[in-house]
Symmetry: none
Subunit: 221 residues, 2 copies
DNA sequence: ACTGCATTTAATGATTTTTTAATAAGTTCC
DNA sequence: GGAACTTATTAAAAAATCATTAAATGCAGT
């Protein structure tokens, strides 16, 4: 996985940025339009996306939304100062930050470093005695490794990422199985059970994954 | 309750909007004229209303006023650029925002997201020693967790959102059970009782949920 | 193709919420 | 005070939802 994916149609600017960022020690890949950006991201992923709003074809807004559908990788929006503010406020919601062109490369790098510090220091997701290694897809409980399956890992991660929030069964199902899946909601129930067997101290009276009657489940931690 | 109620007589436009908003993950309902809009709103409610000004029969201004009489749900007014400004300034007072036709769908979506974020970011609803966590769907009293059922939560939320206002029994019932429900009004009375058991200091003489004789109930806080 | 594991389905049992219905208690108004 | 009406209380039935189990299916690696 590369560190930074640059989505920018101006080749010159894109090349310059690549060089500067590589000089800073990041690995960089670049896409000149939205379609390429998406396919690159789907194939290789990225730890951070620099996204120009004015793109030929699919514009930056669409790219942002599409990527958000996949997952919530950090994004920094590159935008011309003339962009209408209300338009921006919307996009910035989905993004982590934005910067106006023409921008100071030092500020950009500072922002990038900031995001890397904030988000990527977290390659484990811990709560109490349960800890997820997001890279290795392993789970530990009280320091001891707990073998979980792929689906169980995804499920646990989704719950833990939304600690304290009640997630509807349909919502969870849509996220993990895809909302167009043929499978039954019941399947989720069963996976919840397996998970509880593995990570609850007393699976009979679960304290971490609590069920919210008529709604879904919630990670209490 | 649906997320967004579209009030627009142009079927084509209304359908397009529905599709786009649904694609964004909102639930959507639509009305082609003011009367339908009102009855839909009374029956099912909505978290946000998109309101066209030029409607057959009762115009958008009237719809806006009528709905404002019921409660203060966020509204975005859709208006033709040629609309007289003074007329607009009045309506925009009652609404949260307005947008001129022909409008950029991205801007509209940004506005919607903005409103949802601003209004719904308030994910706790507190009054005195009672506090609702809207995301987690939990209730605390004096910091201690009080387990409530889904219906109880909805009921409490409705009451607290309208602090100091007397809500008619039929109104409450319509909001939570749906006005076309088969159930009896008596059911509401029983739920009020369960709620009082859980959140009143002395359920025998309720101070938070007071009954307004012959009308309904009121949250005093 | 076989094996082992992950996933899904299906059936059953257990639990919780919601509703109903009957009765008691309280208000209003004459 | 008493009739008429409204709300509170209770207990129990009904409905809905979730947990559990076991067995079937799918799938990757050998």
């Amino acid at each position: 996985m590369t560190d930074i994916l640059i989505v920018e149609d101006n080749k010159e600017l894109s090349g310059l940025l690549s060089d500067l960022l590589r000089a800073e020690g990041f690995t960089v890949s670049a896409a000149a339009d939205g379609e390429k950006a998406l396919s690159l991201y789907e194939k290789y992923g990225a730890r951070l996306i620099l996204l120009d709003i004015n793109l030929p074809g699919m514009d930056g807004f669409a790219v942002c939304r599409k990527i958000r559908e996949i997952d919530n990788v950090p994004m920094i929006i590159l935008t011309a100062r003339t962009e209408r503010e209300d338009k921006l406020s919307g996009i910035v919601l989905g993004a982590d930050d934005y910067i106006e062109k023409p921008y100071d490369i030092d500020i950009l790098i500072a922002k990038i470093r900031g995001i890397f510090r904030r988000r990527l220091a977290i390659d484990t997701l811990s709560d109490g005695s349960i800890s997820l290694d997001l890279a290795g897809e392993t789970v530990t409980k009280d320091g001891r490794n707990v073998p979980v399956t792929a689906k169980e890992f995804e499920l646990l991660r989704l719950l833990m990422e939304n600690k304290g929030q009640t997630l509807g069964k349909e919502f969870i199902f849509g996220r993990i199985w895809g909302s167009d899946s043929e499978s039954e909601l019941q399947t989720l129930t069963v996976h919840i059970k397996w998970l509880r067997e593995k990570i609850e101290d007393d699976p009979k009276s679960p304290r971490r994954i609590v069920t919210v009657w008529g709604k879904g489940y919630r990670w209490e931690g």
